[in-house]
């Protein structure tokens, strides 16, 4: 789950001697051109994405008319998922920690925001900040013992954390005599779906920008080095334990932000935010989208965010012959299935669909040449 090998071009049949070859300068120029080309392409893609994001509310107004606000609200949800997916991917896809604990941070930070903003009447922004700080602290507390665990043990312990946190939040709800925690003291502006949309996507854009640079910096390289080869990383002076802990804290902070935004979006926090179902949704996002990649996180979040909308078109409960299925249970079933199928058949995720398409076209062209 931690390495990715597929999708890479087949090994070149270069001679093992490393002496400079006559084609060197040409190849070097080609390489530089391809780097510049990739940068240009990425820049253009980012620009297009920004343009679409900025225009989307207007487009929705045109298409959906009265229900535009409702539809836009659903798109905002995808933005929140992108933050959560990125958080899980930093921890699991980059730093290679198979932690299932992020749902706990997601739920706890939502409750912290609800508590501070609704019961203690604190400003919304303070609530968000405290929720992120508490998540970071929890990430540190969970990450420290997790350093001594690896692989399946880490996964089991962190899943336990999610269930415990969910149960505790549920106890809190019961003690306070409520079904779930309503946030009815939110800033008035945020009840406008347009404002919420622009706020969430502004945050998403900033976070993608910052993590893009972070993951290419010394810190991001150290995480990938740990994933690729822990022994060698240590031999070259990467303090492995400290960097794993850092990944836990960064991931928890981002998940905390996503949790608080989700509570804002749904105007309610519920204990089901810290559950095994939520964990599976987080995992499905990064595995289906692509491990160890920002674009994979975004694609995975879009996919997981859209799936319930598509299934929402089906009648609920959905009946297959004599069986009656609740749509909500169907969703987790589908996530689980996709997780399995993606891991077996598609380990590099949606992100590399483009590469697959390219190779397919090339092999078709080659076959054409032979004929």
């Amino acid at each position: 789950m931690t390495t990715r090998k597929a999708g890479e071009p087949p090994a070149a049949k270069a001679s093992p001697s490393a002496a400079a070859t006559p084609v060197a300068s040409g190849r070097l120029r080609g390489q530089l051109a391809s780097v510049q080309g990739r940068r240009l392409r990425n820049g253009l893609l980012a620009l297009c994405a920004l343009l679409v994001l900025a225009l989307l509310p207007t487009i929705y107004d045109q298409i959906f008319g009265f229900s535009a606000d409702f539809e836009l609200h659903r798109v905002t949800f995808i933005g929140i998922l992108i933050i959560a997916a990125l958080a899980q991917n930093i921890l699991t896809g980059y730093a290679a920690q198979p932690s299932l604990g992020n749902a706990a941070f997601f739920g706890v930070s939502a409750y912290i925001l609800a508590w501070l903003n609704t019961d203690l009447n604190q400003p919304y922004w303070l609530g968000i900040l405290v929720a992120m700080l508490v998540s970071a602290l929890l990430g540190f507390v969970v990450g420290a013992p997790a350093l001594r665990l690896s692989g399946v043990y880490l996964a089991i312990v962190t899943l336990g954390l999610v269930l415990v946190a969910g149960a505790l939040l549920n106890v809190w709800d019961t003690a306070a005599g409520r079904q779930s925690y309503e946030l009815n003291n939110l800033p008035v502006a945020l009840t406008d779906d347009h404002v919420l949309y622009f706020m969430v996507f502004a945050i998403v854009v900033v976070i993608i920008f910052l993590s893009y640079h972070l993951l290419r910096s010394r810190v991001g390289r150290a995480w990938v080095a740990i994933r690729d080869n822990e022994v060698a990383a240590e031999a070259f002076g990467v303090p492995v334990a400290r960097y794993k802990l850092l990944a836990f804290v960064v991931s928890a902070t981002l998940t905390g932000l996503a949790g608080a935004l989700y509570a804002t979006w749904a105007t309610t926090a519920s204990s089901s935010m810290s559950s095994a179902d939520q964990t599976i949704a987080f995992l499905a996002m990064i595995v289906v989208g692509g491990l160890g990649s920002i674009s994979g996180s975004v694609l995975g979040a879009i996919f997981v965010g859209l799936l319930p909308l598509l299934l929402g078109q089906l009648p609920d409960p959905f009946s297959i012959g004599p069986f009656q299925l609740q749509i909500s249970s169907l969703i987790t079933l589908i996530y689980g299935l996709l997780l399995l199928l993606a891991l077996i058949f598609f380990p590099t995720g949606l992100r590399s669909l483009g590469d697959y398409a390219k190779t397919a076209v090339q092999s078709l062209a080659q076959r054409g040449d032979k004929r």
Binding site: T3, R4, K5, E8, P9, P10, A11, A12, K13, A14, S15, P16, S17, A18, A19, A20, T21, A24, R27, L28, Q31, S34, V35, L210, S211, H213, L214, S217, R218, V219, G220, R221, A222, V224, A225, R227, D228, N229, V231, A232, A233, E234, A235, F236, G237, V238, P239, L246, V250, G292
Partner: protein, 265 residues
């Protein structure tokens, strides 16, 4: 420490390592002079790699001292030893295989760079400057080893011979005072060994690094080593200038096989 020519760069005294009941290294003394190419030879299981691991900090000996340039190494962590100028390669390469060749050389410089989490998130400032310098250094090292064409290639896609050189480049980018090489000739075709020997000497002269290498390939050792130490069952069997040790009939017969002749392998 004033007379650096007389005091050895690396001095090992009474080194003893045990793995459970097995004595891997027993009371070993070694001293490597600055600028030397020092070869550690011996049959499999003789404790050669264990000695290397003690120097780079992966194995903790039960007894003895290791002094590098006047500093006692044993209390230091791995990254402190890297900072002192000790770099190594691995027999099983241990490269960062999903990264590009250039990125491998950047990770190697981790301890020499400073930018942390907050600086790393920004596309400008200290982190970028530092990164740019590290990139230039990495590219220069790649050029020195004739690897510049591979800078942007993902390591896992490269042929073994190139990967082997990337392992060396990753160590040399640190401009180490001491380079530990774990079987540089393993898996290298016979025809390339001559060239490898030439390269080892060139790196020593150009980069000014001292080489301590573990090797089975007698051909390579004969071609490059100034000084040879033969280990067996964790203790020293013979040591001295390469020519003397390698022609020592007892060494050849007992530990490299009765019929072994130099040049074979």
């Amino acid at each position: 420490m004033t007379a650096s020519i007389l005091t050895p760069l690396l001095e090992i005294r009474g080194l003893t390592v045990r793995f459970g009941g097995l004595q891997a290294v027993a009371n070993l003394d070694l001293s490597v002079t600055e600028g030397q190419i020092f070869a550690l030879v011996g049959p499999n299981g003789a404790g050669k790699t264990t000695v290397l691991n003690c120097i780079s900090g992966f194995v903790r000996p039960v007894g003895g001292t290791i002094t590098f340039a006047g500093v006692s190494l044993l209390p230091l962590s791995t990254d402190r030893r890297v900072a002192l100028g000790i770099a190594r390669t691995f027999q099983q390469l241990q490269l960062f295989s999903t990264m590009t060749v250039l990125e491998n050389l950047l990770v190697a410089q981790h301890a020499q760079l400073k930018a942390g989490l907050l600086q790393g998130m920004l596309p400008f400032g200290q982190a970028r400057l530092e990164d740019k310098r590290a990139r230039i250094k990495a590219q220069a090292t790649l050029a020195q080893l004739g690897l510049e064409d591979y800078a942007g290639r993902v390591v896992a896609t490269l042929p073994f011979g190139i990967q082997k050189l990337v392992g060396v480049a990753r160590a040399l980018v640190l401009r180490p005072r001491l380079l530990l090489l774990d079987e540089p000739a393993a898996g290298v075709p016979h025809s390339e060994v001559e060239k490898l020997a030439e390269n080892l000497r060139r790196w020593r002269d150009e980069i000014g690094t001292t080489l301590l290498l573990i090797e089975h390939n007698m051909h390579l050792i004969q071609a490059v080593a100034d000084h040879v130490c033969v280990l067996n069952y964790g203790s020293k069997l013979a040591e001295g200038p390469a020519r003397m040790v390698l022609t020592n009939q007892a060494v050849l017969e007992a530990y490299l096989g009765r019929d072994t002749q130099i040049g074979e392998e």
